[in-house]
Symmetry: C2
Subunit: 240 residues, 2 copies
């Protein structure tokens, strides 16, 4: 039986989602918990990886299991074995051909920027102390909507499909924070962090608004703003 | 010259404020930063200690220095050398007889309890999943107001002055969280955590409201509720 598991995690103390040569990973902890429950090795397949220190509000993985107990009991058993910075939010039996990565239609990422350094939120938002032009910042955010070649916004490898569609890009203010969300059909490595870094470089007037189109056209990542730090980034949801 | 330094810290990764046989301490990090600036050993004196994992929004320390630069520059220099989970909020020159501990008139502690487990706030609030009777909980909180012998609410040692005055005790709800604040002329070791633990045991109806007066009268700490965990506790402010 195949299960779809939705998880939330605080990425602060992990070396990313998956298979790093050293350090703890989120997948490693989930595999460990599931392997313990099944008394045989279980490996999850995720919708995609998240980088070191990136968080998730709703990452999705799938795995195969012979366990046939009510879903709420299965969820509890998993949470009892997971560390407290990784929580299983939901488990659901899915058809045997469900695939967490291939079937993902859309993903939403959000990024939190704060002008105030908060000792308690230092791992959960990106502190940016220089003035940001919110009007320009919103315009820059909206420029990403549509189908574009994002090679310049990622650590590009030739073999990868770098054309992606961003369905929605929003910038909202909440208290003194700025929250940027992107919903798209797929995201390349470092893509959101380079998009946000470029948006910031436009909002501080270091780069013109037109740089985004220029990066789409030239695929030249050296034109991007400084890659935004991982601690402000959250994989919010995966849609199937 | 004597300086009064107000600091905020995330206690999660520290073995308390001061002089533990092993592990990093908050005082240790501040002393290290000041020693580096002065190129001679500097040791701060705090308003009081906080336990391992307890946070501070406004702890106060004093130290003596030969440095005579504008306060904002001094503050910046200190923050440049402190780890990112300890921040100096304010520095002020004070009379040479100012003493962070002896001159403290009042302190406010706050304690945050949440009925929802939040992976990102797990170190910053206490998760409590059982129902709490808020009416009883408020009554219990208010019982602490006044001058009482708090020996039973602390890890009592005979030599200590255990009579303390609580000027104010409040319980408020914010979103789904419960925030309890106490302002008093002094707090003994574990005192707030045992007060909160006892309030919780009353709010879950494990203990009667009268247990608080009974602990004042008998000084018997075995009557207290389970000592509340340190991660929900903040030293909010010290008043001089």
């Amino acid at each position: 039986m195949r299960y779809k598991l939705t998880i939330s995690y605080d990425g602060t103390n992990y070396n990313g989602f998956q298979s790093q040569p050293k350090g703890k990973t989120i997948a490693g902890e989930i595999n460990k918990a599931l392997t313990k429950i099944h008394k045989k090795e279980i490996k999850v397949t995720a919708s995609g990886r998240t980088d070191s220190k990136v968080h998730a509000l709703g990452q999705v993985v799938h795995f195969d299991s012979f366990i046939d107990i009510p879903e709420n009991r299965f969820l509890k058993a998993i949470n009892n074995l997971l560390p407290l910075d990784i929580r299983a939010l939901e488990i659901k039996r899915v058809p045997a051909d469900f695939h967490a990565r291939y079937d993902a239609r859309k993903k939403t990422y959000l990024y939190i920027i704060s002008p105030t350094y908060d000792v308690f939120l230092r791992n959960y938002q990106t502190y940016f102390k220089y003035p940001l032009d919110l009007e320009l910042m919103t315009q820059a955010t909206k420029k990403f909507i549509g189908t574009h070649d994002f090679a310049g916004f990622s650590s590009y490898t030739k073999s990868k499909q770098t054309t992606k569609t961003i369905y929605n890009a929003d910038l909202i203010q909440k208290d003194d924070k700025i929250i940027i969300t992107f919903t798209g059909d797929g995201f390349l490595k470092y893509m959101v962090r380079r998009m946000v870094g470029t948006i910031i470089s436009i909002a501080t007037k270091k780069k013109p608004l037109t740089v985004i189109e220029e990066i789409f056209a030239t695929r030249d990542s050296s034109l991007c703003g400084k890659t935004a730090s991982p601690n402000g980034l959250y994989l919010q949801a995966v849609f199937y």
